[in-house]
Amino acid sequence: MSTPTSMTTSMPALAPLSTEESASFDRATIDYIQRASATGLYEIRGLGAKRRLPHFDDLLLLGASLSRYPLEGYREKCSTKTVLGTRYATKPVVLDTPITIAGMSFGALSANVKEALGRAASAVGTSTTTGDGGMTNEERNASKTLVYQCLPSRYGFNPDDVRRADAIEIVIGQGAKPGGGGMLLGQKVNPRVAKMRTLPAGVDQRSASRHPDWTGPDDLAIKIRELREITDWEKPIYVKVGATRVPHDVKLAVHSGADVVVVDGMQGGTAATQLTFIEHVGIPTLAAVRQAADALEELNMTGKVQLIVSGGIRSGADVAKALALGADAVSIGQGVLFSLGCNSSTYMQKGQHIDATADYAALGTKPGFCHHCHTGRCPVGVTTQDAVLEQRLEVEVGARRVKNYLKTLTMELTTLARACGKQDVHHMEREDLVGLTVEAAAMAGVPLAGTEWIPGRAV
């Protein structure tokens, strides 16, 4: 209170009229309108939704106590083994952790980064995934288990890589832009990227949003059978959807014959997408997990068709909560990029930290806020195709950091699972969760903490 001595203060204090900001037309909104007016073009950026959303932070785990029996944190085993693709594939993917690396394209990322991810994933016994740019040798050779994406663009898609993949992921959409195709601006379409994608170098590449050779779930069923025929029914087929009408999409993916359904919530990242798409299309990951798990349950497919959840997974706690809600595994994209050094003020060269803040400034941003993946001018060499900048990410350094990150998450996950009395992380269950907010409790279908009330569910 600015006037504590006043005898007549019943109104809240207002900001001086000269600096009163509008809630509807705040500075960010005014900036947006003026940018649109100046350019006539929507804004494009990388990473995922930045708005605050109901998320796993809004759930809490109920550790064991008198009514439940915990496991000894440092002595008793807690299995993290994860098997994906048990429905039809004769060679399912077997992983040592349920935490996988999400599809990110060579093109969006440099070849160094793809190799680092492959090495890290192999070191911790998990899988990595190609992206909308085909499979590089660096990535294949570095990855023990590699998931090969079949996207609407089909850039670089070829039968030799289908045969040398460990699983195929048919991408219907992604959480950052359900209903939209890929995008790679010209500055990242260097000669190698252009050749792999059969595009003119430097072109502003806008990928298709629909697959070229099938339309709708009945066609998809035939497409999946073709891929099974081509791979002699050995490899798991994943179907990835951006989270929107999750119950329908999951059921249709199962109907189409998927071994694994991947559901990517709206916090999922992108290398370049229209801002309006990132922030306004799709539903939060938290809401999507529960709907996807329920859809599998309704089809009696729980445990037969595996569910992978992605979109804003950051920590072991996020993983534990996703598993408790019904996911079999998670996929991480942005977290892995931050692990590599995305948004760090420095990058490592020959053991030395080199300051990169001036390069962030040149992009009009600073560490902690950068989402300029689309420019290809990544100050720390992660999301670039520039011959100089990409050297800023040393494969060894990147591989070590991502390995550490994935190990940390797995340890956090088992810590929480043991505390909940589980000897297998896949035994985490909804009963282990409560919601911290009414919204999160409603979306996750768990009681609001301290109550027995599950908002939105019949009592």
């Binding site: 073009l41 089909r154 289908v162 045969r163 059969t198 003119p200 806008r206 070229p212 035939i222 073709e226």
Partner: protein, 248 residues
């Protein structure tokens, strides 16, 4: 494994192997699996250079994923994705083909004697697809270097977003021909209902005439190359352009 023997078909001369996809007591998918497994595992190991697929009855994924210099004759109608992702093989469908014939072909020659349904030759990186009849919607969509010759007419959105390769249409073309083309080129002999976004007619050069002549010769069609018109990308959508906002 000898599917031909188990099928009870007459033994033919050694180099030809027969697979009957419609046999009493054998599920069609099992018969298809026998065919494709043999094509994937054994086609390169023996002396057999020709395979006949009998009674295909519209089965999907016939001869998908073949990587062998082999002649494959499909003696009837094929379903979706016949010769999908083909490498090296010469596949002839003596009938019509369903959606996605020779999709993502890398090399070889696929010939459809009848009509082809939607998305024939989709995203083909190489090889030649010949459709002696008409092609339906989206023929050559997302083409990445393969060549397609359509003896009859082609439906709407032919060559949608085609990136590289050549498409020859001996008859007419439907709406939105060459919409959002990249570097692929189209040669069309008949009427064009409409051009798609960023597609335009261009002058036929001597190189274009030679290309059409070459592809017609491969396909076995006797037309005068000079009667074809060329459609290619105006390249107006290669880069962001605020003024073209509703064009793309």
């Amino acid at each position: 494994m000898s599917a031909a023997t188990s099928a009870g078909t007459a033994a033919t001369a050694a180099p030809v192997k027969e697979f009957n996809l419609s046999r009493p007591g054998v599920a069609p998918e099992t018969a298809l699996r026998e065919l494709n497994l043999w094509l994937h595992r054994d086609a390169n190991s023996g002396g057999i250079r020709q395979v006949r697929v009998l009674n295909p009855d519209g089965a999907h994924s016939i001869a998908a994923g073949v990587d062998a210099s082999l002649r494959i004759d499909v003696e009837g109608h094929a379903g979706y994705y016949v010769a999908g992702m083909n490498q090296h093989a010469t596949v002839t469908v003596h009938g019509n083909a369903g959606t996605g014939a020779a999709e993502n072909m890398m090399s070889g020659l696929v010939r459809i004697k009848g009509f082809a349904s939607n998305s024939a030759g989709a995203s083909a990186h190489g090889g030649v697809l010949v459709i002696e009849g008409d092609a339906s919607l989206r023929c050559g969509i997302s083409l990445k270097g393969g060549d397609i010759v359509v003896g009859g007419s082609a439906g709407s959105f032919t060559a949608f977003m085609a990136q590289a390769g050549r498409i020859v249409i001996c008859g007419d073309a439907g709406e939105a021909l060459g919409d959002s083309l990249y570097e692929a080129v189209i040669y069309v002999r008949g009427k064009v209902a409409s051009l798609g976004a960023d597609a335009r007619f261009e002058e036929m050069t001597p190189a274009d005439l030679a290309a059409v002549r070459e592809l017609l010769a491969i396909a076995g069609f006797d037309h005068d190359p000079s009667t074809f018109r060329k459609v290619a990308s105006a390249r107006g959508l290669y880069h962001w352009n605020a003024d073209a906002s509703q064009e793309y």
